[in-house]
Symmetry: C2
Amino acid sequence: MTEQITVQLAETRREKPDQSNLGFGRIFTDHMFMMDYTEGTGWHDARIVPYQPLTLEPSAMVFHYGQTVFEGMKAYLTKEGRVFLFRPEKNMVRLNRSNERLCIPQIDGDFVIEGLKKLIAVDQEWIPTAEGTSLYIRPFIIATEPFLGVAPAKNYKFMIIMSPVGLYYKEGIAPVKILVENDYVRAVQGGTGEAKTGGNYAASLKAQELASGKEYSQVLWLDGVEKKYIEEVGSMNVFFKIDGEVVTPALNGSILHGVTRDSVIQLLKHWNVPVSERRLSMEEIAQAYRDGKLEEAFGTGTAAVISPIGEFLWGEEKMVLNNGKTGELSKKIYDSITGIQKGALEDPFGWITEVPISESK
Amino acid sequence: MTEQITVQLAETRREKPDQSNLGFGRIFTDHMFMMDYTEGTGWHDARIVPYQPLTLEPSAMVFHYGQTVFEGMKAYLTKEGRVFLFRPEKNMVRLNRSNERLCIPQIDGDFVIEGLKKLIAVDQEWIPTAEGTSLYIRPFIIATEPFLGVAPAKNYKFMIIMSPVGLYYKEGIAPVKILVENDYVRAVQGGTGEAKTGGNYAASLKAQELASGKEYSQVLWLDGVEKKYIEEVGSMNVFFKIDGEVVTPALNGSILHGVTRDSVIQLLKHWNVPVSERRLSMEEIAQAYRDGKLEEAFGTGTAAVISPIGEFLWGEEKMVLNNGKTGELSKKIYDSITGIQKGALEDPFGWITEVPISESK
């Protein structure tokens, strides 16, 4: 796409929120990026406009048949006042993989990243500066065709909205308690587990609600076929350190290709820490725990980056890791990735994309 | 709920469509029913208003996490000018079952049926009269809270929109060709297959698209665990007549509780035709075919009522049923159910709810 991105600035800018209490995903910046898809024409009318409500027909397919995909990214302000994105090209590749599974037309990732950079430049004053804060970026696509037939839509909207956020967990990097889920299933081979689509998250709510009622903050998902093998934790990928080796479930078709997951693996290899991706049963984890070899566990995702796990409950068996404290390696990975993201540490991997912010405000 | 339903009539009524070319789900009536849910207050502000676009925040959870449920129903005009609904109470029970799975608050089914009756009365002139036509009714609920966290929403909209429809398949009651799906999965035990929620339909699009490319109009879904057992066909339940007995997959947690499915079973029992609900493997169906005992097959659903199956393709094995013609029993069931729905036949089952249409226009 060589199309121009038009910019319509908001007449007034809203007051910026108190950075000590940002929460997650409730406050949005002054502008948003959007473009439309029409069958036969392709994506068109890329534009930055004031943040505003969407108007859609009640029969718009997104309300009925869940044809949606999304991404999660972050922009960071460095101490020097530079603005960094973390591996945005990976998010675009994944977005297109999700599009493929959901029968949504492909987007031009480079073009979208250009649009995102422009959007960030326009709303740069919204990037929070306090420790642990960042600008959360939510690209998403919805099917807008007004039609009740079950078929891929002929019209879509692609949008990017942005939200200044604090830490995902109020506790910050503090261990969470995880319930191993035995009844509900998030995804299965041949389903949509690998795609970042609404239905996966809708399917997860019930188990999450039941876990919360038992004072567990997330669930660990087992495979949908045998309910033996570990898939994800909450909406994150999951890693275990067993007897000095770090292991994470291999991407099997029902596990999300996490950008943080990939970064952790690269980082560990760079450090010469043994790391493997393979099928991993809950019984193996429990046995490692019983043998005193389960040293650490943590979830990975864009929102929380690293979320250490302090406890698992699997049926009747409770496993407390590392006395419920954050493991040494978990902390080191967290510090390294967030350090690179914020420009405090060098980036030997080429993970950072800088956003030019000189232009407009 | 004893709340009043307010009515705001449209200032002008739109022109009614050509009944010979209604299609499905593209044209909507002049009004719609809606009510809102607010945590702490419950459902409120039930109202009938002119059909109009919805305005939602871009961060409304429905766009991101697929927290939606819906129903499909029909209203029929009898020759005598009476308006009939078919088992609406069953749809309300199912809607609440879907709500439960998706962490959406329960609705008062009786109250909603009252609202629906009022809506139909207001838009009664939209019920088409031509052979095979009806007024399709789409109740649905969407999560509207503007929040990017993964959790059940605190705000929802319940709506009913209505569309005059022709036959779901342009061919009418004519056999369709079905591809048995071996790669993609619609649902699995512990997932959301039993709920009428967007994600299930989104998950089905890819397989459907591939089947269409091979000139098959729907796919037959096998279970997500062993890929052996029959679940549904397209977005319908499925029945087989084998050596004089009618069989359909038992409701196992990943199969939708079809209202037409239940009606077919009742009808067959009433006729003393042997019918059973049980686990049914694709191999059993293929063997029955090879033995010359697979007499008929058909899908059931509100949109198509009965959809005869003329052919299955399972891997390399092609099975042509009944010379690709509509089976005798399939036709008899179709005629009986549509006859009851349209008031042409007696209703010994108490399936019909009459809509009083004397009041307003």
